[in-house]
């Protein structure tokens, strides 16, 4: 079978130590990330609605990946500030799956425990814990636990709103559990044994 241009790049990257970090991130990303094709135009950094709170623009982060700056990239808050709006993805002239690359960077940072502020990773992990436990998300449990740990003050501020949500029936006090929990657990346990990397 003939190779696509991106596969050609992948094949070459395999042998190129300097691009090993970029390649690692690319291969850990869900689809064909096309991260190698970035031309540093800045469409992503220009599009991002939450760029003002990021320490690096996505474009800068990709340049840092190319330069092999592992530590700095994983410590960056950029992937955690990404709001998954996909503006950068549809505007990227090279069709890089930028949002999905951000997800890969987050999971790498979690794995290596590299973050300056644990609030965001904790939120994701708590969310996932609830899902793994019940099969459905459980906002009440998630919000109370997250706020208690990270911003008890904010919890007091938002108590009124939370109460409103409760009163209007928009917040369930009890979680819903799916019937096939056993099946879901088996699937997720099996999935956790695997990783998407080199192929």
């Amino acid at each position: 079978m003939s190779k696509t241009p991106v596969e050609h790049v992948h094949a070459r990257l395999d042998h190129d130590e300097d691009l090993s970090l970029l390649h690692e991130v690319s291969m850990k990303t869900a689809g064909v990330s096309r991260l190698e094709m970035c031309i540093q135009c800045g469409s992503c950094g220009g599009s991002c609605p939450s760029e003002m709170d990021m320490d690096h623009t996505p474009r800068t982060l990709f340049a840092m990946l190319r330069a092999g700056m592992r530590e700095e990239v994983l410590l960056s808050n950029t992937p955690w500030i990404c709001v998954s709006c996909y503006h950068c993805v549809v505007r990227c002239p090279q069709n890089v799956h930028i949002t999905d690359v951000m997800y890969s960077l987050k999971s790498m940072a979690i794995q290596e425990k590299k973050y300056r502020d644990s609030s965001a990773p904790d939120f994701s992990e708590t969310f996932v814990e609830m899902v793994e436990k019940y099969g459905r998300s459980y906002e009440f449990g998630l919000a109370t636990r997250h706020y208690l740990k990270h911003s008890p003050l904010r919890m007091i501020r938002t108590a009124a709103m939370g109460l409103g949500m409760l009163k209007k029936g928009r917040l369930n006090m009890k979680p819903t559990t799916i019937k096939g929990m056993e099946q879901l657990t088996a699937i997720l346990n099996k999935a956790k044994e695997m990783e998407l990397a080199h192929e």
Partner: protein, 668 residues
């Protein structure tokens, strides 16, 4: 397949420097030919660094003479490149050139593989196929045909005008066909031209006039080519002359009809949508020819049956509402296509707001706006027609270098943007922002122009603009267009307020390029641009003999390059005319009439109209003078009754057998 004809075959394996030898073990291929194919008649096999060099060719010639070779296989590059070289070498040594075959082990092997061992095996198979094939080759004699001295030039932009003038000035006749009402093309719409800033009209109008009045140029505007028959030296071309609704022989070009016409419409053509024209119009006062045309879609008479103001006002009674389209057929020996480009439709990039945000303009709109003869008499103003902007943003690469639209660089946008930056500065003293990804100024005096614009104080921001928006986030943004971009040299997002945005839109193949390619029998690349015969060494020829190509029809180009190509194509045509005759490849198809079932499938498939059906005998017959040896009919014939010389069934089947042969040496 054993060789019962007791041929003496020579096999020559080329290293092509390291192009082939880097990936293919050339010595192994040579040894295989010498030892493995000895039973097929191979008497000598050699390898050489550059077979196409003089010593390389001499090797072959010497072997033909000394060893009495009667077949030659050269394993080297694609036949496109050097088939002729090696056939001529054989010819010099007294061997019929059609007994020489090229086996492509560069384009089809070394360039497309990385595994040396497997590539070497494949090269051996390809060589074996060529050897088996060459055994079946027959000696062929070339055909010579006379070349008609007239030339057709399609497209009256600057490239076509240049080509037509070169040929006409050499004393040969040219049919110059243009589908618009005037020649001049896109260049006629421009204001200034980079990098020297001479005015486009000043340098183009004299050429237009010369082309329009040249005794050797038959100018046919408002006309289109509808059919092309024949072959190099002897084309027969049908041209449709669309009705102007006006008798050209009576019209004096006084323009009274235009003045009196009561219907004003937005001019989406010459004025790029920011100006108006009448329902009877010429593109501009400088139009060549000077005759107007009636736009029937907007003409009162054609729509409602009343008005006739133009007819009444014409002093020479030239208006003719009854005029019909006319077809004429002309014979020419060569054709130059200079069909140009379309502009990218900026509305597709919805994040830049063109069409939604009034003060976002395209480069072509801005050209017309800057032009003293344009809708604003050269004033740079906002869409309201009166307000002068204070801050202008210019965006590069709109629709270019972008996989969502066109993934190629449009070549002229950097310089065009720099030109705009200069013009805005010069005329308004505005603050100018120029947003670029990479600044590409490689031609003569281009980078110097960049330096000049830097000096003039244009503010350059390196970054592809993410969006242009009128959604203000704070009071200081109200009423402005915000250009949102990452300034990649700072690594921060910026929102820069401007009054006007100019989008430097790229070039696209003509929307109907595919049909045009089909009409003239030439191909398009994946992007839709016409394909040159060789991108570097023969950029103005096509794979079809006698059809040449110039200007932006093959890809984005600036004016100097388009002009140079126009001249180059003309030189090639004159070369053909001077030769007087052309040698045709004897690769022709023929029908075994005994096998023909008379189904006529081949009749309509032949792109050269070379097949006729003989009613009396109920079989098809191929005219060898018209046949170009394309092979379409050979493949299509359900009865297998058509065979092509040079591509006979015996040759092809032998080649396949060879390709599939076990290429391991018994003793290896």
């Amino acid at each position: 397949m054993s060789n019962d004809k007791t041929n003496k075959i020579g096999v020559y394996v080329c290293h092509c420097g390291t192009n082939i030898s880097h990936t293919v073990d050339v010595a192994k291929v040579r040894d295989w030919a010498a030892e493995g194919l000895g039973s097929e008649g191979v008497v000598i096999a050699r390898d050489y660094k550059f077979m196409c060099s003089s010593p390389g060719q001499e090797l072959i010639e010497q072997d033909i003479k000394e060893l009495g070779l009667d077949r030659v296989v050269v394993a080297a590059c694609s036949p496109h490149l050097h088939e002729l070289t090696f056939r001529n070498a054989s010819k010099r040594a007294g061997l019929n050139p059609y007994l020489t075959e090229l086996a492509s082990i560069r384009e089809q092997v070394s360039w497309v593989h990385t595994d040396k061992e497997a590539a070497t095996e494949k090269a051996k198979a390809v060589v074996t196929g060529a050897v088996e094939r060459v055994i079946e080759n027959e000696p062929l004699e070339e055909l010579k045909v006379a070349i008609h001295p007239d030339t057709l030039v399609v497209g009256g932009g600057i490239a076509g005008i240049q080509a037509a003038l070169e040929i006409a000035n050499a004393g040969k006749k040219v049919w110059l066909v243009e589908r618009e009402a005037s020649i001049g093309g896109h260049m006629a719409q421009f204001d200034k031209t980079f990098p020297t800033l001479d005015c486009a009209a000043c340098i183009l109008t004299p050429r237009m006039f010369e082309a329009g009045n040249h005794p050797n140029i038959e100018l046919m505007t408002w006309s289109e080519v509808t059919n092309v028959a024949g072959y190099v030296g002897n084309f027969s071309v049908t041209i449709k002359k669309k009705p102007r609704y006006l008798k050209e022989e009576l019209c004096t070009g006084c323009r009274i009809c235009i003045e009196k016409c009561p219907t004003k419409v937005v001019d989406q053509g010459y004025e790029a949508g920011i100006g108006y024209r009448k329902a009877i119009y010429t593109s501009s006062a400088q139009a060549v020819p000077k005759y107007p045309v009636i736009d029937t879609e907007n003409c009162n008479f054609f729509q409602k049956g009343t008005c006739k103001v133009c007819e009444k006002s014409c002093p020479t009674e030239a208006i003719d509402y009854e005029q019909k389209e006319e077809f004429l057929t002309v014979d020419v020996g060569n054709i130059i296509l200079a069909t140009g480009y379309d502009l990218f439709d900026a509305r597709k990039v919805s994040n830049y707001g063109y069409g939604r945000l009034p003060n976002v303009f395209t480069s072509i709109e801005f050209e017309r706006m800057c032009n003293a003869a344009g809708p604003t008499s050269g004033d740079i103003v906002l869409r309201d027609g009166k307000t002068t902007p204070k801050t202008v943003g210019i965006i590069h690469c709109v629709g270019s270098r972008d996989r969502n639209y066109n993934n190629y660089c449009s070549n002229i946008c950097c310089m065009q943007s720099l030109k705009f930056a200069h013009l805005v500065k010069e005329r308004t003293g505005d603050t100018v922002y120029d947003f670029y990804i990479d600044m590409r100024t490689p031609m003569k005096a281009y980078d110097e122009f960049y330096q000049r614009v830097l000096e003039e104080g244009t503010l350059f921001v390196r970054g592809k603009v993410a969006q242009v928006t009128d959604a203000a986030r704070k009071a200081s943004e109200e009423g402005k267009l915000m250009v949102q971009v990452e300034d990649t040299l700072i690594g921060k997002q910026r929102r820069i307020p401007v009054d006007m945005v100019i989008l430097s839109i790229g070039m696209e193949p003509r929307h109907d390029a595919k049909e045009t390619g089909k009409l003239f029998g030439i191909g398009c690349s994946a992007n839709g641009w016409f394909t040159e015969k060789h991108a570097k060494l023969d950029p103005i020829s096509t794979m079809t003999e006698g059809i040449f190509i110039a200007g932006t029809a093959t890809g984005p180009k600036d004016i100097p390059t388009s002009v140079a190509q126009g001249s180059a194509a003309a030189a090639r045509v004159l070369n053909m005319i001077m030769r007087g005759e052309v040698t045709l490849e004897p690769i022709k198809a023929s029908v075994y009439q005994g096998q023909c079932s008379g189904c006529r499938i081949c009749n309509s498939l032949c792109p050269f109209n070379a097949i006729t059906f003989l009613e009396d005998r109920k079989v098809s017959e191929i005219n060898p003078a018209l046949c170009q040896g394309c092979g379409t009919c050979v493949a299509a014939c359900p009865a297998g009754a058509i065979s092509g010389t040079g591509f006979s069934n015996d040759q092809i089947l032998a080649q396949i057998d060879g390709l599939l042969m076990d290429v391991t040496l018994a003793d290896a």
